[in-house]
Amino acid sequence: MQSSLGFPILTWLVFLPIIGMLLVLLVPLGKDERSREVSHIIMRWITVVITFIQLILAIVIYLNYNKGLPGVNDASTFQFVERLTWINANFPIIGHIKIEYFLGIDGLSVPMVLLTAIVCFVAVFPSFVIEKGVKGYFAMYLLLDTGMMGVFVALDFFLFYVFWELMLLPMYFLIGIWGGPRKEYAAIKFFIYTLVGSVFMLLVMIGLYYSVGSFSIIDMMNPENFKPNSIFEGMHTTIRYIAFMALFIGFAIKVPSVPFHTWLPDAHVEAPTPISVILAGVLLKMGTYGMIRIAFPIFPDAVGYFQSLIAWVGMISIIYGALCALGQHKVGQRDFKKLIAYSSVSHMGYVVLGLASMRPEGISGAIFQMFNHGTITSMLFMIVGVIYDRAHTRGLDEFGGLANKMPVYTGIMMVAFFAAIGLPGLSGFISEAMVFLGAFNTYPYLTIASGLGIILGAAYMLWTLQKVFFGNLPDRWNKPWDPTGKKFPGDDLIAREYLALVPLAIIIIYLGVYPNPMLSLMNTSVNYFVQFMKPYVLIGNFLSGM
């Protein structure tokens, strides 16, 4: 099926940043201070323009997306499909290998494509403060963009894996070179954790290939495609359970779910602000996206077997993450960013819980939560970045009374904080409520226990709010942030920060009041997905008609 737009929009979407990367690499670095400054500005704006075009492409996709087609395991209803043979050769020993360049999107991936485009665009603005190795930074940034976008549109498992790994490397360098004091530790930790997950994925992928004879994820979803006597043939076999678990752990590391989460706080604390934004905003979603795109539909029988375990993982992540976040007020470096990193663990727990529910509300809520967490947490990290840029510290105990010094900033911050708490009228509420409503049907007690996460979430957020923004300003911050007035004229936000924060705030409020534009995108696919999984899994079906 040809792309419905007459040009391969997904390819453009994915590889546009590569073009941007080449452009950035071609910008000559001047010899003296001023010409170098000029070339930095050029590189920054190249990145802004490229990501902006990407955003526009994503919006074009959104506008032309047909909401009536389900996708999921039906290759003919994927949209904007591009399918070419990429590698098709006979190899000695391993035999015939056919790998396709197979891109396409459905309701499960469209929200993620939009999210990636939005987050990559807004995260460029906090990148403006990077002064060291600007060329390498933006080149890596754009490469990372390609990798992430590729993961969300690839339908060939091998291609998916390639993009997955492609994303890993720039991230490693971005943390390892432009990070904080313990950057090497954080970078290598991130790298090894993710690599472990990738290895699991690779093994299962190869096994699936020999069982199915194709790398197409869609082919793998159909049990009839499994060759007789191949390792994954049949249903409810031990090897399938093991394979599912391997995939699940691989993705859970990325989510990250407790107990595979400890790379996240370190990576966040050390990463520069924009990279934290991307890490929390997009990268974490790849884990849950992988579950719903690959792990669940390929091994539905194993999902049924492990379903309650998955729900437990979600519930523990929610509560444990929230407790750890609360604990940051008392333990350790009392780092603002670490607190938000743990809150991410907690919020991504909602996604896992929602997925485990296998109900339309739960899964829609989970995908919506992925999107919302992407926007909200991006905002939170940028908010931390704003004061870090000014005060060069992120200690929770070192501030106070910022509300008087920076009123607009505080106002915008409140939107993000309250959205994270799950205040109605902001997008976080709807997705969390949907997750809860869905999950309660399948796992009532676990859901009630997860409810504690809401209270704890409010506790650590309000505590932070009080410590950092309320009260009186310590004397050391009384003077202007920047005495020269060049970098930060005035105390409050500067235009660049408005550009990054205000669009996100608008999205959060808009989707909080009127979520249907996002829900309608995924409805058909989610319902189809639920129907597809239904024979294998536990669904709270007290309600007649469901």
Binding site: I430, F440, I448, G471, N523
Partner: protein, 721 residues
């Protein structure tokens, strides 16, 4: 007016305060002082619209009508006017929401709009000079919007949404002076304590959603009435009711979550009047009334007990408090307990009636206290005295002379809250006490404790309210500040007058001794319970009475017949309850005068005689201490443990495995170096040897390369031909 028009007006009422919020938030700085005028005039419009709705709905008649307009369904009947539309569309599941106006909502709208308007008016003067003047009015707008949302919600989802939104506006307003740590602490505490209640509320919602797949009140109650129970179990139905009631426990500051309300007095006083006395805290009562039909007998007993405990507990605490606003706060808690208790025992109408009357006089009390504090504050400021706490009643006294009008209104509304005849307070309180008596008679056993708690609190209320009045207004000024107070201007006094006038009986009933002769009981009739008959009190079952047609007119005709056994018992209990409550209130007032006015009895002797009792009361039954020591400490402790666990154990494991892997790596590295590398090196050396041979060819000289190229050419030609 036709039903559709009323619904549009209702939508306007909902959205106008939001407009005020947006205007003041974004343009407040620019328009400066005018922000108060903008906000107040918007609220004025809302007030007028609310009166229109009130009049049309309560005294009007509507033809049944259904209008489907695209996604939006308009439903008009005598019972309720409502809009339903799909908000969350998941194709297979469509979550419908909407707004509905029935008599309950119509009356509540007027309460909210009027008090909100008066508080806006009051604040123009009270808040003048505050650096965040416009922000204050923005928050008030947000609050009024959310409160109207609660009132108009016809489904659990909207109810919950606006429930949280009032929570957040309350948080913002309590912590309005956030430079004070105590203020931001109080805001945080209020929000978190409410969150605990809200979690219960949300669990209740989840149970109901799971069972019925919808969140509209109509549909849920309809399904229960058809005998479909959650999890097919009456116990779960009871539990669902109690969980939903948890929301009310939080918001209406009922035992055991009442601890946030007194602290909330850190907010500006008009806010206390609006949110923490009259409207938001009454939302819990409103919610209980709204979903009254789904409570089983057990759930109602639970509600009644919680109410009774709260009423008594808060009254005992109020006895010894010295902060003007805290006394009023505990009084509020106590009165809210009354309302909840009333709903719990089955006196539905009287409970809601008390909500309305209490809203007027409690708002008046708070605004009067605001007037006093404002005057004290100005006097202290004038004298340059920054040590005298303007809220401490031990610093007042003699204000009767300096602030005569405030005193008069305060006196009148104090009489109202004590339940003295000719006031609205008497009507509602008397009704509630009669209800508890009837309830105890009909059920017996330990339920007799409920009327006892009710009467005891009535007496205590009379005592502490007069203690407050006497200590602050009578006698001689105890400080210089009190002596120099001045009466406030009309902007402050006008709301007081309006509210105290509304506390006269004649607004509600022609007979100052019996509320049942007024319009109120006819407008607010107890909804027919939808729970299975065997799960409800027999005396609450409505006999031969079609709840779907309880219009004003029909009820008027039916008023001589009791709708159920409870009504009858309550009617019989009316006079005993009245006499008893008058006696007890009179005793309370008398003692207050004996103690504080005539000084015949010395309060200190009592304190010395019962130090424990005094301490318990003064320390608020140690609730804060107990919570801090248990729940808060445990949570923070768990948080600390988790954070440390994460840092040391999980991360330790990760780093430990990294360490193991590294050392394994070293070991393998050495093994590699010696054994495997030996082999590899051999091969490598061989390769290297050949390489170095070839290397001689690589001289780096262009000439050599040319020579090779030519040799190559020759060979090529040779082999090709």
């Amino acid at each position: 007016m036709s039903g559709e028009v009323l619904l549009y007006i209702g939508t306007a009422i909902l959205l106008f305060p939001l407009l005020s919020f947006v205007i003041n938030l974004f343009f407040g700085k620019r328009i400066g002082k005018a922000s108060s005028i903008v906000a107040t005039s918007i609220l004025g419009v809302v007030l007028i619209l609310s009166f229109i709705i009130f009049y049309s709905k309560v005294f009007g008649h509507f033809e049944n009508k259904l209008v489907q307009n695209g996604n939006i369904l308009l439903e008009v009947s005598d019972k309720i006017l409502q809009i339903k539309f799909t908000w969350l569309d998941l194709q297979t599941i469509q979550l419908k929401v909407g707004i509905g106006i029935d008599n309950l909502a119509a009356i509540m709208l007027v309460v909210v709009a009027l008090i909100s308007f008066l508080v806006h008016l009051f604040s123009i003067e009270y808040m003048s000079g505050d650096p965040r003047y416009s922000r204050y009015f923005a928050y008030l707008g947000l609050f009024t919007f959310s409160m109207n949302g609660i009132v108009l919600a016809n489904n659990f989802l909207f109810m919950y949404i606006f429930w949280e939104l009032v929570g957040i506006s309350s948080y913002l307003l309590i912590g309005f002076w956030y430079e004070k740590k105590s203020a931001s602490d109080a805001g945080k505490k209020a929000f978190l304590v409410n969150r605990v209640g809200d979690l219960g509320f949300f669990i209740g919602i989840m149970i109901l959603y799971f069972s019925y797949g919808t969140l509209l009140f109509d549909d849920i109650f309809g399904s229960i009435a058809q005998g479909r129970l959650p999890f097919d179990s009456e116990t779960i139905l009871t539990l669902a009711g109690i969980f939903v009631f948890c929301g009310a426990i939080g918001k209406s500051a009922q035992f055991p979550l009442h601890v946030w309300l007194p602290d909330a007095m850190e907010g500006p006083t008009p806010v206390s009047a609006l949110i923490h006395a009259a409207t938001m805290v009454a939302a819990g009562v409103y919610l209980t009334a709204r979903v009254y039909a789904m409570f089983t007998a057990s759930a109602l007993s639970f509600i009644a007990s919680i109410g009774a405990i709260t009423a008594f507990l808060a009254a005992t605490i109020a006895l010894t408090q010295v902060d003007f606003k805290r006394v009023l706060a505990y009084s509020t808690v106590s009165q809210l307990g009354y309302m909840i208790m009333s709903l719990g025992v089955g006196a539905y109408t009287m409970g809601f009636f008390h909500l309305v009357t209490h809203a007027w006089f409690k708002a008046a009390l708070f605004l009067a206290s605001g007037s006093v504090i404002h005057a004290m504050h100005h006097a202290a400021h004038h004298l340059g005295d920054h040590h005298t706490d303007p809220q401490d009643i031990r610093n007042m006294g003699g204000l009767r002379k300096t602030m005569p009008w405030t005193y008069r209104t305060f006196l009148f509304v104090t009489l109202a809250i004590c339940g003295v005849p000719l006031t609205s307070g008497f009507l509602s309180k008397d009704g509630i006490l009669a209800g508890t008596l009837a309830y105890a008679q009909l059920t017996g056993g330990w339920h007799w404790l409920i009327p006892i708690a009710g009467f005891a609190s009535a007496g205590l209320t009379a005592f502490y309210m007069f203690r407050l009045l006497i200590l602050s207004f009578h006698g001689e000024p105890k400080t210089n500040v009190a002596k120099h107070t001045k009466e406030n201007n009309w902007i402050i006094l006008l709301p007081l007058f309006v509210l105290s006038i509304l506390s006269f009986w004649f607004f509600y009933s022609p007979n100052p001794l019996d509320a049942h002769q007024g319009w109120f009981p006819k407008a607010i009739v107890q909804p027919k319970s939808v729970v299975p008959d065997e799960q409800q009190w027999e005396f609450l079952l409505i006999n031969g009475y079609n709840q779907n047609e309880h219009t004003f007119q029909q009820v008027e005709h039916a008023s001589h017949h009791y709708i159920n056994g409870f009504e009858e018992a309550m009617h019989h209990a009316h006079y005993p309850a009245m006499i008893l409550s008058l006696l007890i209130a009179g005793t309370g007032i008398l003692f207050a005068f004996l103690f504080y006015q005539f000084k015949i009895l010395n309060p200190d002797t009592i304190v010395n005689q019962f130090p424990l009792l005094y301490k318990v009361s003064y320390k608020k039954w140690y609730f804060d201490e107990i919570y801090n020591a248990t729940v808060v400490a445990a949570t923070v402790g768990f948080a600390k443990i988790s954070a440390l666990f994460d840092l040391k154990i999980i991360d330790g494991l990760v780093n430990g495995s990294a360490w193991v892997a590294r050392n394994l790596g070293y070991f393998i590295g050495h093994f590699d170096n010696i054994v495997i590398d030996g082999l590899v090196n051999l091969i490598a050396n061989l390769t290297g040897f050949f390489g170095s041979m070839v290397r001689y060819l690589q001289t780096g000289r262009v000439q050599t390369y040319v020579a090779f190229a030519i040799v190559g050419l020759i060979l090529l030609v040779y082999f090709l031909f």
